[in-house]
């Protein structure tokens, strides 16, 4: 635990070395620095977890970052149970993906750049999870966003890639806007931005109302919702989810690490971290739960009809993140974090498999042009199958436990919307199973539908890539075993380890149902999972003509889904185009040009005009001069005489 500073700063050192010397010195050996650094972090993280398991926590300030009046904030670290879990998730995924990238990025001319970004990302992510105050959290938050920007736009010469990077950053800024305001409100009410005192006071301020922009609102609700804005952006929830699918322009390891396993879950982490605040506001929790539920449903429906391999997984990610929020929203933070943890493994795995497929397909992403890859790339196939089973909730695999926990908590918890979100969650579970297996079937089964050239090129990926796949596969299978629910665990003598472990930080949500109910909920989720798989098998293996017919019959629905409910178009029409139009036609065209500049240039022009008129008085004719003089005399005399008479 004493070496905790090594965890973030090893990757940071790697970043510095790579960015400074990568291009000239290290070149294609750049990965060594990064891998060693992140592996070192992993080792320290594991040791830290051991200490935390032994009951030690840490909250330490390193140095004062900003000090202005009573506003003081440090660079400081908090290591507790939640942090420890996150550290494991981040360093593990990161390490494996670093290794994977060695194979995947081989030969790329920005090799050093890629690894330095990955290291920087790891650093920022670790700073985010280890922060002991909101501002440092914000630092990591924006830092990972930046790395995301760089990595999405890694192939910057592609317009779509640079567009996507920019979009990700800006959309996130919308979320951060609320997040920042949240921090202001926290500071103004709590007088500090450190977690510990804020959370300690949260209870006593629970009833406080606060005047915000002229409205009296419940303080805790306000803070929660403002912070949640940040989560919405970072975790790609409705309505700020639009950036994540586009983010798939980045190299696949990036999608796996940033846009599946770690960064996007930061929103969930934030809500979990701030659970003392969120718990004080039922309204906020309901909003969180509903946002999660709607997003998960919404994304899942879109995923049904997409053909882009990575985009399907991306929508799946959005959907699963919705799940996590759903969990948090019903008060089951542990379940949310648990799902975060299991999701990291199987989703990273899914992405890496997708990467492996792309590697083989020469960058092709359209699953309509794949098929039958099973025989060419068995490792990829098996690992991806396991990952898909995991996400579909196949009993015993990681996804099963976490998803089940969430659904049960939703069903049995005290949340007013619990039943609704349970129902939607169950539906999503069905859809998830369906589209996951649609993906599997279309990609790996049947006949190859791509070009001949591609078929010739098909091969299993190199060791550097397959070994991480296999390791992650272990996680996708076994990660859930730390959270075996009491229902099952009691019988075989295993505790729900994670719930116990997280209790000091996240509290313990009590279910109010009987074992019987719990069993039913579990059964339902298993059944819908199998139903989804079955339907996918039916539609894409047995009767491949059905999807086409359905598409034709419900062409309207399909179109809406295929075009992602036209959200991007909506934003373009409502925000982007009006803004630029205003800038061009109102601000530049009217305010600047016709008002301000008209005055600024008009006054001198007018003076110039007056000047040209006035000079005409000077006719050059002396008698005019004399007349004017005499007139001047008379006018002055007349005025003065009238004045003094």
């Amino acid at each position: 635990m004493e070496n905790y500073l090594l965890i973030p700063f090893l990757p940071f050192a790697a970043f510095l070395i790579n960015i400074l010397f990568g291009r000239a010195v290290l070149k294609e050996k750049a990965h060594w620095v990064s891998i060693l650094a992140v592996a070192g972090s992993w080792v320290v993280a594991v040791m830290t977890l051991r200490d935390v398991l032994a009951g030690k926590t840490l909250n330490e300030n390193v140095y004062t970052w900003i000090l202005a009046g009573d506003f003081k904030v440090s660079v400081g670290f908090l290591i507790d149970q939640l942090t420890a879990i996150m550290l494991i998730v981040v360093t593990t995924c990161s390490t494996l993906i670093h290794i994977y990238s060695v194979g995947y990025m081989h030969g790329d001319n920005g090799y050093y750049r890629f690894f330095s970004y990955l290291s920087l990302f790891t650093f920022c992510m670790l700073m985010l999870v280890m922060a002991n105050n909101f501002l440092q959290l914000y630092f990591g938050w924006e830092g990972v966003g930046l790395c995301s920007y760089f990595l999405i736009g890694y192939y910057f010469d592609k317009k779509s890639a640079s567009d996507a990077g920019k979009k990700a950053f800006i959309v996130n800024r919308f979320g951060d806007f609320g997040f920042g305001l949240g921090i202001f409100v926290i500071f103004l009410n709590f007088g500090t931005t450190y977690y510990a005192p804020v959370f300690a006071q949260a209870g006593s301020l629970a009833a406080k109302s606060y005047n915000f922009l002229g409205f009296d609102v419940h303080l805790m609700t306000l803070i929660s919702l403002l912070l949640f804005c940040g989560s919405i952006g970072k975790s790609a929830q409705m309505p700020l989810h639009v950036w994540l699918p586009d983010a798939m322009e980045g190299p696949t390891p990036v999608s796996a690490l940033i846009h599946a396993a770690t960064m996007v879950t930061a929103g969930v982490f934030l809500v979990a971290r701030c659970n003392p605040i969120f718990s004080q506001s039922e309204t906020a929790l309901v909003v969180v739960a509903l946002t999660g539920a709607i997003t998960s449903l919404f994304a899942a429906t879109i995923a049904l009809v997409q053909n882009d391999l990575k985009r399907i997984i991306a929508y799946s990610t959005v959907s699963q993140l919705g799940y996590m929020f759903l969990a948090c929203g019903v008060g089951a933070y542990t379940a949310g974090v648990f799902h975060l943890y299991t999701h990291a493994f199987f989703k990273a795995l899914l992405f890496l498999c997708a990467g492996s497929v792309m590697h083989a397909m020469g960058g092709e992403l359209d699953i309509q042009k794949m098929g039958g890859l099973r025989k060419y790339m068995p490792v990829t196939y098996v690992t991806m199958l396991i990952a898909s089973l995991s996400i579909a909730g196949f009993p015993g695999l990681a996804g099963f436990f976490s998803k089940d926990e969430i659904l049960w908590m939703a069903y049995s918890g005290s949340s007013p919307v619990g039943k609704i979100v349970w129902a939607s969650g169950t539906l999503v579970a069905f859809l998830t199973a369906f589209y996951s297996f649609r993906l599997i079937f279309l990609t790996f089964h049947g006949k190859f539908r791509g070009t001949h050239e591609q078929e010739h090129h098909l091969h299993e990926s190199p060791k550097a890539m397959t070994i991480p796949l296999m390791l992650l596969c272990v996680g996708a299978v076994a990660a859930g075993w730390v959270g075996i629910p009491a229902l099952i665990g009691e019988n075989i003598g295993i505790h729900n380890g994670i719930a116990e472990f997280m209790k000091p930080v996240l509290g313990h949500a009590e279910g109010h149902g009987t074992h019987g109910e719990e069993l039913i909920v579990m059964a339902v989720s298993v059944v819908v999972g199998f139903a989804g798989i079955g339907l996918a098998w039916f539609m894409y293996m047995l009767r491949p003509d059905i999807p086409g017919k359905l598409t034709a019959q419900f062409s309207g629905v399909h179109k809406v889904l295929y075009n992602k409910y036209y959200v991007d178009e909506l934003y373009s029409a409502v925000i982007i185009r009006p803004t630029i139009w205003t800038a061009k036609n109102i601000l530049i065209g009217v305010t600047d040009a016709k008002v301000i500049e008209a005055i600024v240039n008009g006054v001198p022009a007018a003076i110039g005009g007056v000047s040209r008129q006035l000079r005409k008085i000077q006719t050059g004719l002396m008698h005019h001069y004399a007349t004017i003089m005499a007139m001047g005399i008379f006018i002055i005399a007349a005025l003065m005489l009238m004045r003094s008479w």
């Binding site: 960015i19 291009r23 140095y63 004062t64 970052w65 900003i66 000090l67 202005a68 009046g69 009573d70 506003f71 501002l135 914000y138 630092f139 924006e142 830092g143 930046l146 920007y149 736009g153 910057f156 010469d157 592609k158 317009k159 640079s162 567009d163 990077g165 920019k166 950053f169 800006i170 800024r173 919308f174 951060d176 806007f177 920042g180 305001l181 202001f184 500071f187 103004l188 915000f212 922009l213 803004t579 630029i580 205003t582 800038a583 061009k584 601000l587 530049i588 305010t591 600047d592 008002v595 301000i596 500049e597 600024v600 001198p604």
Partner: protein, 512 residues
């Protein structure tokens, strides 16, 4: 005289700073104009020399007091009770250092890009440097005004002689705009001087209690000068033209120092001398700041000219500065001052960067660029640092400043805080879009085959990069200078009884 601490350096350090560049200019004047290399080296020598002389300020400044330090005082025009009175406090010291640094960078960046009237160019740069330092050091209002105005001459030449195609218009506009503001301030200064019993001593004037009516009129007289310099909405339109047409060094000086002088003026004069009026006018000032932030930002989205875009972004960023200052609380003000410094570094850096590439392509149209990152990777990575600092990414200086300002602004007026925070979103929008259009995407024919920046340009850009991270990661090193001075200033502004700031009341007051 508990407000001042005399100079214990053993030599008049501030005078040296002011006059070293002048001596340099005189030396240049005497050199043969055909020997351009010598001229450049001498200019560099003097700017570096000035910078080195300024470094002890940084190390020996006493941060535990708001008192003026390194004070020098000599009678200058005794019949008008005008003194040559110099000193620094926590608010001004950083700008002196920035000025000396920026001068070096300007010399470096202009090394090859200035081809005609080389001698006059470097003379102008050195004189500008001297005037800039003088503005920040003056403790006598009259002396301040002298430097303030004197700066116009070399700046006018810098823009008008070595600028772009529309330089004459821009130079005249710059000059007249600022002159109109300044002369109105002059009337205010004289009024204040006479009222105070014939003294220009800034410290004495800052203790004065003026009747509210007088404060009100003086506030607007000073506003005329300072707001134009900042520039605040709606007197900002000189800036895009001046920035766009000025040569790189001119843009850098404008961005880094010159427009800071306006904000500095508010801090040094408007607030302490006219506390009641300042308090009463905060709604107006905050309103104008918020408009500037959003207006400047949104307008950037429609720019097609590289330098013009950065110029409008300055309007937006300086809106943050004035917002922070007129939030009238510690966070806002310290943020504002820091942001002045930040903006100087970042926008200065952006202009340096733009200059470096302009020298190669001779076009400012964004559409003429694209894919520069492929051709000039080092340059691209430095430029991204400036871009990120400009949009206020944490760990860069921009974040610290903007965060404090927004916090302070939010504290002062929630609406202002919320509306200004949208500036952060817009800022990310236009800067990243700019970066994308210039550096990303397919390589434009016009930039294909450009050489990456050389050692000299790197030397000009790197100090800015270092400062960006230094301030971003350890802002205490800079904020520490200003704590005491800001505290003292805020005490001054807020004492004299509790005056509720009622927007409606003040709007009525203005309409009257």
């Amino acid at each position: 005289m508990e407000q001042v601490m005399t100079n214990t350096m053993g030599f008049p350090i501030l005078s040296s700073l002011i006059f070293l560049p002048v001596i340099g200019a005189v030396v240049l004047l005497l050199l043969n104009r055909t020997n351009e290399n010598l001229i450049k080296w001498v200019a560099l020598l003097f700017s570096v020399g000035t910078f080195l002389v300024s470094l002890p300020l940084f190390s020996t400044f006493d941060k535990t007091t708001h008192a003026m330090q390194f004070v020098e005082r000599h009678a200058w025009i005794p019949s008008w009770n005008i003194n040559y009175y110099l000193g620094l406090d926590g608010i001004s010291i950083l700008f002196v250092l920035l000025s000396t640094l920026v001068a070096i960078l300007c010399v470096l960046i202009s090394w090859n890009s200035v081809k005609m009237k080389v001698k006059e160019f470097f003379i102008s740069i050195l004189i500008v440097e001297s005037a800039m330092i003088g503005v920040f050091c003056s403790l006598d209002f009259f002396l301040f005004y002298i430097f303030w105005e004197a700066m116009l001459i070399p700046m006018y030449l810098l823009i008008g002689v070595w600028g772009g195609p529309n330089r004459v218009y821009a130079a005249v506009k710059f000059f007249l705009y600022t002159l109109v503001g300044s002369v109105l301030m002059l009337v205010g200064i004289i009024t204040l001087y006479l009222y105070a019993g014939r003294t220009f001593d800034i410290l004495a004037l800052s203790k004065l209690i003026l009747p509210y009516d007088m404060q009100f009129w003086l506030f607007w007289a000073f506003f005329a000068a300072f707001a134009v310099k900042v520039p605040m909405f709606p007197v900002h339109t000189w800036l895009p033209d001046a920035h766009t047409e000025a040569p790189t060094a001119g843009s850098v000086i404008l961005a880094a120092i010159l427009i800071k002088m306006g904000a500095y003026g508010f801090l040094r004069f408007s607030l302490p001398m006219l506390p009641e009026a300042s308090r009463a006018m905060t709604p107006v000032m905050i309103g104008l700041s918020v408009i500037a932030i959003i207006y400047g930002g949104v307008i950037c989205l429609a720019q097609t000219d590289l330098k013009r875009l950065i110029a409008y972004s300055s309007v937006s960023h300086m809106g943050f500065v004035t917002l922070g200052i007129f939030a009238l609380n510690v966070q806002g003000m310290e943020g504002g001052i820091l942001q002045m410094l930040n903006h100087g570094i970042v926008t200065g850096g952006l202009f340096l960067g733009v200059g470096a590439i302009y020298d190669r392509t001779h076009t400012r149209q964004i559409a003429d660029y694209g894919g520069v990152a492929s051709v000039m990777p080092v340059y691209a990575s430095i430029f991204i640092v400036f871009t990120l600092a400009s949009i206020g990414l944490p760990a860069t200086n921009g974040f610290v400043g903007e965060f404090l300002i927004l916090l302070g602004g939010f504290k002062a007026s929630q609406w202002a805080g919320v509306l200004s925070a949208t500036g952060i979103i817009i800022g990310a929008g236009y800067m990243l879009w700019l970066y994308q259009r210039v550096f990303f995407m397919e390589t434009n024919q016009k930039v294909a085959g450009l050489s990456d920046i050389g050692a000299r340009e790197l030397a000009a850009l790197l100090p800015m990069v270092v400062l960006i991270f230094w301030i971003g990661v350890y802002p205490t090193a800079f904020l520490g200078f200003m704590h005491e001075s800001v505290r003292h200033l805020l005490e001054r502004v807020s004492d004299g009884g509790v005056h509720g700031v009622s927007v409606a009341h003040n709007v009525l007051e203005i309409l009257k």
